[in-house]
Every structure is written in C-alpha cells, then in structure tokens.
C-alpha cells in the first residue's frame, strides 16, 4: 500500500497552480485534503505522474456571503464549514448534512472543493449542492466559468470539469421565504457513506397549508446525486398532510433505479429512499411552518 512514483508540486498561488495544470493536464491530480485521493494513491488505483498539493494556495479558502447565498472557497476545510455561524444561519441544510461526512478527523482535513470535485455518488456535499440548486465555479489558465450543480455531476467520480480546470469555489443559495430544509440518511455506521441519503427543501404557499415548491435530492442511489423530479412535480400545490409525504415516497420508489452493492440491495435502497423521502419532507415542511428556516 505504497503509491507509485509521482512528482510533488506545492504551488502557493492560484495562477501558478493553473499554469501547472495547463502544462501537466491529465498527468496531474489535485490534492485538496486527501481523504479519498491518498487511499486511492496508496492502493495504486490512481497513479498520476504529478501531484499538485493545493494546501498552500490560501486564496482558495474562505466563506463569504454573496448573491443571496454563501460562496465557499474550494480549500475551505469541511470542519470550518461545520462550525461557521454564517453557514448555520444561511445554509442550514449544508450545516446539517456536513456532520454526516466521515468523522471529525476526516472533516478536519477534507475540503469542500475536494468533495465536490471527487463527485462520489454517495457523498453528502454534492447532494446538498444539487438539492439547493447551487453552482460550481471552475478556473483554468483559459479563464473561469460557472456550472450549475445539475450539469456538473456527470457520473461516478466524473464531473463537467476539464482536465486543466480546478474547482475554485462552490456557491449555495439561501432558502426562499416560508421554506424549510432537512437532511436524512441511513448508513451502516455513524460516519459511513450513506446507503441512501436525501436532502429536501420545502417552500410553503402564503397560507402555509400547501406546498408551493419542493426539491428532493438523493445520494447513493445512482452514479451521481439525483433529483426526484416526478415527486417534486407532484408535491407542487399539494396539501401539507401526511398523505402528501406518503405519496411522494411512493413516487420516489417508482422513479429511482438504485444499484446494489455489498451493503444494500437495490430493493433496500428503493424502499428506504421512499421511507426517507416521507420523513424528510415532513421534517422540512414542519421547519418551514415553524419558521425555523432549516
């Protein structure tokens, strides 16, 4: 379990990083926290010729309020996000979900950008970004561009980023008024990748008795985070009742086609996705009614 030989780079500026990336292209891997990459290197599942360590690129870290949401620099540690009062207040879904990412030592090293760029289909942060309809800002020597979460995550460990691009920043929009959010997941052990995870945002109509809009996004049920669009459509205008959540859960079971692995069968994932959908919608709607924002 020792990595194959590679050349190590530790640039200190974004420009220098982007130059290196432009030169090395597919022969380079970015090291953003190492919680996934280092094991893969040690098992020789990836063997890049060059490793570009981003930890000294200080301009990539930081949490800022921007455009009605919160922008988080790629090298911001997950633990900082977890402890950020701004995130807790403005993006409660992120604050709630991030506690499920691994364990404290993992979150202390792991970064927001690292998780987003790695695009593990069982990871929480891509699911949160999709549930909130956030965006990813990519940078390269050629310039910058912004990609919506729904376009960014393509398949297992595959994103819309080109080999010379890096994730510079991730932007999470705040919730609209009369909204609540919630995150639930089922994992074998505390801190494990979820067997099924789900994030929900429920926005209520003015009278608080019906759903104006809902977003419902799952992780660990496909090669990328998945939005349950049929259930979302059925929720629009539906009354805030247990039957609504139950029907949404039933629709989720119809529209998802989850894979099987050692830890859970496809049947298990489909069934539990429905259960979690029902529970997460109920919770998000209650929070919307209570004005908790979450």
């Amino acid at each position: 379990m020792k990595p194959a030989r590679f050349v190590y780079h530790a640039p200190t500026t974004l420009d220098a990083t982007l130059q290196l990336l432009a030169e090395l292209n597919v022969d380079a891997k970015l090291l953003a926290g190492g919680q996934s990459l280092i094991p893969m290197l040690n098992m020789r599942l990836v063997r890049p010729g060059h490793l570009i360590d981003l930890q000294h690129v200080s301009e990539l870290a930081g949490i800022h309020e921007r455009d009605g949401g919160v922008a988080i620099g790629a090298m911001t540690r997950q633990r900082q996000v977890e402890r950020s009062p701004l995130v807790a207040e403005r993006i409660p879904l992120l604050a709630e979900a991030i506690r499920h990412v691994g364990h404290l030592p993992i979150r202390t090293r792991g970064t927001i950008g690292g998780s987003i760029a790695h695009a593990d289909p069982a990871a929480e942060l891509p699911g949160v970004l999709l549930a909130l309809d956030g965006t990813v800002r990519l940078a390269s020597a050629r310039g910058e561009r912004t990609v919506a979460a729904r376009d960014f995550f393509v398949d297992i460990l595959t994103t819309a980023a080109e080999p010379d691009e890096l994730v510079r920043e991730v932007w999470f929009p705040s919730l609209p008024p009369r909204s609540g959010s919630a995150w639930l997941e089922v994992a074998r052990r505390h801190g494990d990748y979820a067997l099924v995870g789900v994030g929900a945002v429920v926005t209520l109509a003015d009278d608080g008795q019906a759903v104006a809009a809902a977003r419902l996004c799952f992780i660990s049920v496909a090669g990328r985070p998945v939005q349950a669009t049929q259930a979302e459509a059925a929720l629009r205008g539906a009354p805030v009742t247990p039957a609504t959540w139950r029907e949404a859960g039933a629709l989720v079971r119809e529209e998802l086609d989850p894979p099987a692995d050692l830890h859970a069968s496809a049947h298990y994932r489909r069934h539990v996705a429905g259960v979690l959908a029902e529970r997460v919608l109920e919770l998000a709607a209650r929070r919307a009614q209570e004005g908790a924002g979450r």
Binding site: M1, A4, V186, R189, H190, S265, V272
Partner: protein, 789 residues
C-alpha cells in the same frame, strides 16, 4: 492487616505509556541498513504456477533480491502442522512461497527485498507469473458433493476431518421425545482486525552469533523454537521478542510464511530485514474464522426439559489446516453450554475451500456453539409458550452437580469437564439487574402500544478457558527492593503487566509499582506456549503466584534464621517481614535480598549486611544468592467461566436499523484479579460480538475474490455503535488453580450473535421474523420483515 491488592481496581500500568504514544511496536523499531520486504500475493483463488519471471524486477533500482520458492533454502519445507488430531485425516499445509499451486487469493508467491517498501512494491509489478487457473472451491456445501472440484487434488477429497461425538443414546431420546425442533443456522465468515497488523523485523548479530527477531506473535517461544529448528541453530542463538503488540485476538498465533521468510532473509543477506503487513495483506494473508453451517435439532419433554441435541455442521477450514481442527472441536464440545444435555450427537466435517485458512479468532468456535444452542432454547420456549428465562432455568446444570462431564474430549485432549459454576444464580442475577419481569409485563407492552418495535433477548454461555499445557514464571526480589517477574507469555494489551504484578504484590505485600513484569522476550523466559484461549491469567497467573509464594517462603526462612525466631512467628506486611508483636524486629524485602546475596552494595542506604565472623562459605549449603523462584503451573484441564447477557433492542422496521436501549452482562470468571481489567475484556469482547452480530462479515464471491478487503467495506463497529454495557460480577472460584481464577479474554464475543437474534426476533414478533443467520444487516432485516409479513 495485610493490604488487599489482588481483586482491587488498579489502573493499568501499561496505559500512561501507551496512551501518550510511547508504546514500542515492531514497526517503530528501525535498525541501520535495514531492508524492506513486499510480497507478491496470488490474485487467483486457485491456480497452478507455470512459471515466474522475476528478471525485470531483479534488475530494478534498489532491489536487493527477488525470491521465489526455489530461492528460499531451508524454508522450502512445508509449513508445520501445529496441532494434529486423530480425526484430521487429511491435513494440508502450504509452502512458505507457493511451489506450484496457489489455493487462495493472497497466498505469497514471491518476495521482493529492497532498500525501501516503495521500491519493493514497484518491483512487485515487474514480476510476471504464468498462471493456469483452476476451478475455485468457495461454497462449502457444494465442496462436499461427490462431483465437486478439489482444493487439493492429491487428497482426493475436500473433507479435511470428519468428527463424530456421541454422549448417551441420542436416537432413543429423540424417538421418545414429546417435541423435536429443527433449525438450520449459519454464522458467516469473519476475521480478527487488530489495530496493528502483523510485523516482523529480523537481524543476524555477528558479534554474538544470534538471530534477533521482533515479531507481533502471540507465541514468541514457539517462533523461537521453530526458527532454531528450521535454521539449524541452538535455541539460545535465536532471540525472539514480541514487544508492544496492538491486539492479537488469535490471528497472531501461528507460524506464518512471513515469520520464517523474513528471518531467513536476514540470515542469508546479513542485513536487517523488516516486513510490516498492510491492511489489505491482513485481510488476505492473516487467518480468518467463523463460517459454519449447522443442522441442529433438539428433543424436549412436554415441560421443555432437554432430552437430547443432535447437530451436524460443516466447518469452513479455508485452504489449509496448519492449526488443525481446534475451532470446530471447541464448537462441538461447548455447544451444550450451561445446560444438561443427557443425550448428544455432534458431528462435523471440516471442509477445504479456496479461501484464507481458518484458525481461532476471539471466541474460536464458541459464538457459533452459543448461537446454535440459544436459538434452540428460544425455539423451545416459543413453541411451548414458556418464558425464555424459565426454559433456561429448567435445564441448567445445578451448583451441586460439579464437576460436570459433558462427555466429550476438549481441544486440549482432556475431558470437557466443568469445574465449578452457579448458572441458576447467574441468570437470576441477570433478571434482577434487568428488572426482567417489569420489562416483560410493563415497559415493553407500553412501548409496543406506542407503535415501537422493541424486543428483549437473553443468552447464556460457558467458556472453557485456561487450558494447558503449562506456563512458567520467574520471580525475584532485587536488593533494591524491586521485584522482577518474567513469564513466557507475550501481551497484546491485556494488562498482564498490571494483573501479574497484583498477584506478586499481594503475596509479598509490596507496592504494586515496585513489581516489574517482563514478557514476550525469550531471553527472559524460555518455556511456555503463548497467550491464547483465555489462558494467560489462569495459567501464567498461577505460575506467577506459585513462584511468588516460594519467594515469600524463602524470605520468611531467611528472616527467621537471621532473627533466630520461628518462621511461624513472622508476618509479611507493608513490604516487610517482621516478628509478630514487635514490628521493629524485621527486614524490608530489599534487606532480605541483600542478606541473601552477601556482596558489596556501594550505594545501598539501609544496608542490612554486617561484617560477620567466618563460619564457612559465604553461601552456606542449600542457600542461593537471591530470593528467587521459577515455578510452572500445568492445569489438569480447562476451567469453565460462564455468563449471561440481556438486551433491549429497538428495530426501525422501515429501514432495518437497530439500536440498543440497554445491554447487561453478568459474568463469572472465578476470582477477579482486577475488576477494571475484567470489565475492559468484557467490553471489548461485547464490542467484537456486536460486530459479529450486525457488522462484520467477509464477502467472498464465487470466484474466491474477497470483495470487502478494506475498512471502507468491512464494517467494524465504532464507539458510536457500542452501547453502554452494564457489567455485574459473580465469583465462583475455580478449584483447579491456586488463585481460583478463570479466563475472561473471549467471554464477551461469545453470546452476542445469540443475544441479538433473540432480541430482534422479539422486537419483530408482529412480522413473525425468524433469525437463523449471523451477522444481520439492515438489508437482511428488511428482507426478513417483508418476506415473513
């Protein structure tokens, strides 16, 4: 009054060092000029090795040697069969490096020795092996069919051993029984996962002609003897040390290929050589355990009294049988547990498969036995409409029936004879701790009325511990007042340094901190077999007690001589030996040690030796220059610990997740040397048992590929998954040894699969779920709920 030290809650002497990162493990030791080893391991479950081309690897930078079978000199001999058994009619052991065939994924095929582990692993990729794949044997039920492909062609069968044990007349008992219930019960494959994998560092010391080996073994003397024999060295020319070891759990008691190859490399290359197992290697290179498939039946009368038990099971032996059939023998002998089973038929076949070999892992066949027997007891209770506790009470061996013979020969070749115990009191105590009747009549109905799926389980077990052959100990009082203790055991975290020191401190009435226990070093003690089978406290502890008592007698005799009093008039208290009634007339242990050894003590402050007139030799006939003794203890047979556990578990039937509300343990390991250490052992065992009940399972696919050889996919419960464990002690002393102690190392791991099965089944009664396999998982629970409902 003598100070009580034995039985006290004394903090572990090991902990300040270990908890502050000052432990010294094999991989912490580096020697100048040290080389590193990486092994090429088979990617195939079953294949012939046609040819190996290592020329490219040998030419690589930093590579000192690449060895295959033809290069390993004395290590070309087959690995030893450590524990033969008459019923093991088809034993089979491997070569240290595959000669012409591999029989499991992970089997060592070639060995690279290089300047660094990185370079060694690079070179592995340059070794070309010409494989001829053979059909893999993975499913042990298929493996015993007549047309099955064979793991070892020359054996002509996949059945390594066929064992039959019969007590009484089971056929007649079954024919006349009011009820007979049958179960098919499965425990899946698992393995010990010590936090420190195996590691070996070896060097040939030319200055004194000694091969020095640091090894994570549970049996350094066994390794020393094996290496001496293999390399034609005198035993004193081989020095084996097991330093701090991060857990063993059975997996580290073996003579593994790496344990002979790394020392051989040090001998042949005349440089220090180190190999540290990585986690992937541990999954495929260190022995596994657990998989058994039982077809069990129980015959009872109309009141639920056991008339007989019949059990036929298949035991997965893996690819080789270096450790014999210890595990299934234990299962067979322990299956009746604390119950009277007057008629018993047990039969097993140990079956070869193309998987990692099987040898004991904490519990060693006992969790399987307990699972089978307790499932049968629950079945009897449920079928007859009896309380599960009541059925057990009706069948217990009674306190006046000891010693009690099960009627079979145990793993150590001695009778399976329970020496002492009080099972009815044990279960009563558990029910009392649980407030069982209130739980059953009030609390569970109340929670169930709220729509919650809450269940209660109990399980009882026995554990044969403290087997022979023997262990020894050396105890010596130093002229400084320190007490030196050495045994032939190593330790992997069990607190031997604390509990053995307590035994000595109690006998000599000295502060426990002055007792220094040295273990795991063949230069300090040369006889013994190792730490395994919950035997250290019993066997080594008894040897230590005997040696300490001998030293105490020596001290009393010497003091009596010097003070010209009768030894019977002396007391041993407060670190001194003195005359009853006149405490100022006496000596400290340091003074006695000085008196025993009339030399010059340049810095001794309280020198007791005075110039005296000539009266002959300085050491008179029969005196030795030290207060020291070496004693051995060899148990007549195992001593039997026991326990009862209870739990309240809640299941979420929508997700298959479960949660412990409470978990109680009543445990009887005879006299308790240190309650904190015993509780630690129980907690650890329970945690491992919870792993075996809901998390830990090794998944092989039909090609013999291990699918979850990492901590991402092999799920060890963490502190978050382990509930608070409420432990109560009973003490039924063992009559077999001088301390009255019984072993406790494996206890907690034994009853948990049975317990969780019972509680889950109870929680899910509305769905009529029947639990017959372990471990469970959320997926499995959901499947049970949906198919049964």
């Amino acid at each position: 009054m003598p100070t009580r030290i034995f039985g006290e809650r004394i903090k572990r002497a090991e902990d300040p060092r270990l908890l502050t990162g000052r432990g010294r493990f094999v991989d912490d030791i580096d020697l100048p000029g040290q080389l590193h080893v990486a092994f090429l391991r088979s990617p195939h479950a079953h294949a012939r090795v046609r040819a190996i081309d290592a020329s490219a690897a040998r030419a690589m930078e930093g590579v000192v040697a690449v060895w295959t079978y033809t290069d390993i000199g004395p290590c070309q001999r087959r690995m030893p069969l450590l524990i033969p058994h008459p019923d093991l009619t088809h034993p089979y052991t491997r070569f240290a490096l595959a000669r012409d065939e591999v029989n499991h994924v992970g089997e060592p095929v070639a060995m690279v020795i290089a300047e660094s582990r990185y370079l060694a692993e690079d070179a592995l990729e340059a070794i070309a092996v010409d494989w001829e794949e053979l059909p893999p044997v993975v499913d042990i039920e298929a493996a015993v069919r007549p047309d099955a492909p064979l793991v070892h062609e020359e054996l002509g069968t996949n059945v390594a051993a066929h064992y039959v044990g019969i007590v009484g007349d089971p056929d007649r008992a079954f024919a006349s029984a009011a009820h007979v219930f049958r179960e098919r019960l499965v425990i899946e494959r698992s393995a010990s996962m010590p936090i420190e994998p195996r590691a070996i560092l070896a060097t040939w010391d030319d200055t004194d002609g000694v091969l020095r080996v640091w090894d994570t073994t549970q049996a350094p003397i066994v390794i020393r003897n094996a290496l001496a024999a293999l390399f034609g060295l005198a035993p004193t020319q081989v020095h084996v040390v097991a330093p701090d070891v991060g857990g063993g759990f059975g997996g580290k008691i073996m003579v593994y290929p790496e344990e002979v190859l790394v020392p051989y490399a040090a001998l042949a290359l005349r440089r220090p050589v180190k190999w540290t197992e990585d986690r992937f290697e541990h999954f495929v290179g260190t022995n596994h355990e657990r998989l058994q498939i039982h077809d069990a039946e129980i015959a009872v009368d109309s009141e639920g009294r056991i008339l007989g038990v019949r059990d036929r099971f298949l035991h997965d032996a893996g690819a080789y049988t270096p450790y014999g059939i210890i595990v299934p023998i234990i299962t067979a002998c322990q299956l009746p547990g604390p119950y009277k089973v007057p008629n018993y038929h047990v039969e097993f076949r140990a079956v070869y498969s193309n998987t990692v070999p099987v040898s004991p892992y904490r519990g060693a066949g006992r969790p399987h036995a307990c699972f089978v027997m307790e499932r049968l007891m629950d079945r009897v209770a449920d079928e007859l409409g009896l309380d599960r506790a009541e059925v057990r009470q009706r069948n217990f061996i009674q306190p006046d029936e000891f010693p009690y013979d099960v009627g079979l020969i145990f793993q150590d070749g001695a009778p399976t004879r329970y020496d002492s115990g009080n099972y009815p009191a044990m279960l009563d105590r558990l029910l009392q701790e649980m407030d069982y009747h209130r739980l059953v009549s009030e609390e569970l109905p109340r929670l169930r009325a709220e729509g919650r799926y809450v269940g209660l389980g109990i399980a009882c077990y026995v554990e044969g511990t403290g087997i022979g052959p023997y262990e020894g100990a050396h105890v010596r009082v130093e002229p400084t007042g320190h007490v030196y203790v050495a045994t032939g055991m190593p330790q992997q975290g069990q607190a031997h340094q604390t509990v053995l020191a307590q035994i000595v401190a109690e006998e000599l009435q000295v502060p426990v901190e002055t007792v220094h226990v040295i273990e795991g070093d063949t230069a300090h003690f040369e006889f013994g077999s190792g730490t395994y089978a919950s035997r250290s406290a019993v066997v080594a502890g008894s040897a230590v007690a005997l040696a300490a008592r001998s030293v105490r007698e020596q001290g009393l005799r010497l003091a009596a001589e010097e003070l010209e009093v009768d030894p019977a008039d002396l007391l041993v208290e407060d670190g001194r030996v003195f005359v009853r009634g006149t405490p100022e007339r006496g000596f400290t242990w340091a003074q006695l040690a000085q008196l025993a050894n009339p030399l010059r003590y340049a810095y001794a402050g309280d020198l007791a030796v005075r110039p005296r007139p000539w009266s002959g030799p300085a050491l008179p006939q029969g005196r030795q220059p030290a207060l020291e003794a070496t004693e051995y203890y060899s148990p007549p047979h195992a001593t039997w610990a026991s326990g009862a556990v209870g739990a309240v578990i809640e299941v979420d039937p929508a997700t298959g997740l479960l949660q412990f509300h409470r978990l109680w343990v009543v445990h009887d390991c005879g006299k308790v040397i240190n309650p904190m250490v015993v509780e630690g052992q129980i907690h650890g065992g329970i945690a491992q048992g919870i792993g075996g009940a809901f998390y830990e399972r090794l998944h092989y696919d039909e090609n013999g590929q291990l699918l979850n050889a990492s901590f991402m996919d092999f799920l060890i419960p963490t502190a978050m998954e382990i509930p608070r464990i409420e432990v109560a002690h009973l003490e039924t002393p063992s009559p077999l040894n001088p301390l009255g102690v019984k072993g406790v190392g494996e206890a907690g791991a034994i009853p948990l699969p049975a317990l969780v099965a019972a509680a889950v089944e109870d929680a899910l009664r509305p769905f009529q779920v029947h639990v017959t396999r372990m471990p469970l998982s959320p997926d499995e629970l959901l499947r049970l709920i949906h198919t049964e409902a």
